[in-house]
C-alpha cells in the first residue's frame, strides 16, 4: 500500500466515528482530494483482494473500517463463551453481607467491610445478584439492598434459609468442598487469615 493509504488506515482505525473524504484530506496537506480517493480505493481493494477479516465501507456520511459480516456471529458467540467470570473476593464479601443482612444500605455494608462499596454494589446490581428492595429510614432515605432470585439460583439455594446460620458456619465450611483448588484462592484479593 502507498503511504497515504497506510495513514488513512491508521486514522480510520483510530477515529471514533466515520470520516468524510474531505476530512481525510486534512491528514496530509500535500494530498489532493483525488489522491485521497484513490488511496481509499487502494485500501478497499487491499482488504477485498488480500483476504482480510475487515472491509472498508462508506456509510454514515463517511468512511469506516468494519468487521466482515461473516465473522460477526463467531465473535458474538465467543463473547458468550468467554470463560465464566469469577467474582472477586471483595464482591463475594459484599454479597455475603447483603445475603445475611438484607435489607441493608450501602453505608452499613461499607461500615462492615471498612471500605466504600459503591462500585462493587453497582456491579452486583448489574449482574442481577442484588437489587433495591426498599428505602431505609433516616437521612436521605437510603436505598436498601437484598439478594435476587438469580442469587439463589447461582448458589443452588431453594431459599435464603438454606444458607447456614452464622453459628453453623464453621461446620458448613468444614463439610462443603471449597470450589476449586487454589486457582480460585490465589486470585483472592483478601489476605486469608484462614487459607
Amino acid at each position: 500500500m502507498n503511504s497515504l493509504a497506510k495513514l488513512l488506515e491508521a486514522a480510520l482505525f483510530a477515529s471514533p466515528r466515520p470520516i468524510p473524504t474531505e476530512e481525510l484530506a486534512v491528514l496530509d496537506d500535500e494530498a489532493s482530494k483525488a489522491a485521497v480517493q484513490s488511496a481509499l480505493d487502494e485500501l478497499r481493494e487491499h482488504y477485498n483482494v488480500d483476504g482480510h477479516g475487515v472491509e472498508l465501507v462508506e456509510q454514515g456520511g463517511g468512511w469506516q473500517i468494519l468487521t466482515r459480516p461473516e465473522y460477526t456471529e463467531a465473535i458474538e458467540r465467543a463473547q458468550m463463551a468467554i470463560r465464566p467470570h469469577r467474582l472477586s473476593g471483595a464482591a463475594l464479601e459484599t454479597l455475603a453481607i447483603v445475603a445475611y443482612r438484607q435489607p441493608i444500605g450501602k453505608a452499613e455494608i461499607g461500615e462492615i467491610r471498612g471500605v466504600d462499596v459503591g462500585a462493587i454494589l453497582k456491579s452486583l446490581l448489574e449482574r442481577g445478584l442484588v437489587e433495591v428492595v426498599a428505602r431505609g429510614e433516616g437521612l436521605g432515605r437510603p436505598l436498601l439492598y437484598g439478594t435476587t432470585p438469580l442469587f439463589l439460583e447461582q448458589f443452588a439455594l431453594r431459599h435464603l434459609e438454606e444458607l447456614p446460620r452464622i453459628d453453623e458456619l464453621a461446620i458448613a465450611l468444614r463439610t462443603s468442598k471449597p470450589a476449586e483448588d487454589e486457582a480460585g484462592a490465589s486470585t483472592e484479593p483478601v489476605p486469608a487469615g484462614s487459607a
Binding site: G89, L95, A99
Partner: protein, 245 residues
C-alpha cells in the same frame, strides 16, 4: 518529567514551582547531584543549609512534607555535632536512615524513567476507539459456588469489628425490612395494594414478613387495611397519624 532542572526562573508561580519537584526527597536528591557529593557521606550541614534556601526560594515554606524533611535534616545535623565516645565502636551514623531512603527513592526514580519511556511509546499508538456494536454485549456467565460464598462470610466475620457483626444471623422473617418497604411505598402514594409491597415471586418468608409488617403498622396507626370483598386485593391506606417524616 525527567530530572527536574530549572534554575529558579524569577518569580514563577507557586504551583509551577511546587510541581518542579515531586517532594522533599526529590529536592534533596537534586541538591546532592548538583553538589556532586557522595550520597554515603553527605555533608549534612551544607546540604541542610541549601535545602532550607531552596525551600525558601521555591516558596515551599508552608509545605508540610518539606518542613518535615527540614526538621529531620536539622536533627541529623545536631546529632552529627555530638561528641563521639572514643571507646564506643557502636557509633551509628545519624545519616544512615536518610541515605537508605534516598537510595530507595533513587531506585524508584529509575523505574519511573522506564515507565515514562514505555508510557510514551504506548501513547504514540492509538487503539481502536470506535467499536462496532454487534448485538447487545452479553455478560460473561458467572462461576459461583456456595463454598466460595461461605468462605467470604467467614472472612467478613473474621474482619468485622465485633459490635457491628455480632447480630449477623439469617432472619427467618424480616419484619423490619418489610416495614421499611411498606413505608417507602406509602411515602410515594397514599394508597397501595398488597402487590405493591410484596413481589409476585416473593418467598414465603417475605410474604409473612410483609403481612406482619402491615399488621404492625396498622397497630401503630400508620396505615389502614381494607378489603372491598372477600379474597380481593388488600388495600393499604396511609394514615395521617403516621409518625413524622
Amino acid at each position: 518529567m525527567t530530572s527536574p532542572h530549572q534554575g529558579a526562573t524569577g518569580e514563577t508561580s507557586f504551583v509551577v514551582e511546587l510541581s518542579a519537584f515531586n517532594g522533599p526527597l526529590d529536592l534533596l536528591l537534586s541538591l546532592i547531584r548538583d553538589e556532586k557529593v557522595d550520597i554515603y557521606d553527605i555533608p549534612i550541614a551544607n546540604i541542610c543549609k541549601q535545602f532550607l534556601e531552596r525551600m525558601h526560594e521555591l516558596a515551599l515554606n508552608d509545605a508540610a512534607d518539606y518542613l518535615e524533611m527540614a526538621a529531620r535534616l536539622l536533627r541529623i545535623k545536631t546529632l552529627m555535632l555530638l561528641p563521639r565516645h572514643e571507646g564506643l565502636d557502636q557509633w551509628e551514623d545519624p545519616r544512615a536512615e536518610l541515605v537508605r531512603r534516598l537510595l530507595e527513592y533513587q531506585q524508584m526514580r529509575e523505574v519511573v524513567d522506564v515507565l515514562e519511556r514505555l508510557g510514551e511509546d504506548r501513547r504514540n499508538r492509538f487503539a481502536r476507539s470506535w467499536t462496532q456494536t454487534l448485538s447487545a454485549p452479553p455478560q460473561a456467565p458467572l462461576a459461583l459456588s456456595l463454598a466460595e460464598l461461605l468462605l467470604a462470610v467467614d472472612r467478613v466475620l473474621r474482619q468485622a469489628r465485633k459490635p457491628v457483626m455480632h447480630d449477623v444471623v439469617p432472619r427467618a422473617l424480616d419484619v423490619d425490612g418489610a416495614i421499611a418497604i411498606v413505608r417507602a411505598v406509602l411515602a410515594l402514594r397514599a394508597n397501595a395494594r398488597w402487590r405493591d409491597v410484596v413481589r409476585l415471586d416473593a418467598e414465603p418468608w417475605e410474604v409473612l414478613s410483609a403481612l406482619l409488617a402491615l399488621l404492625e403498622l396498622a397497630r401503630r396507626s400508620e396505615l389502614k387495611l381494607a378489603q372491598s370483598r372477600p379474597f380481593s386485593d388488600v388495600e393499604i391506606c396511609r394514615e395521617l397519624a403516621g409518625e413524622a417524616a
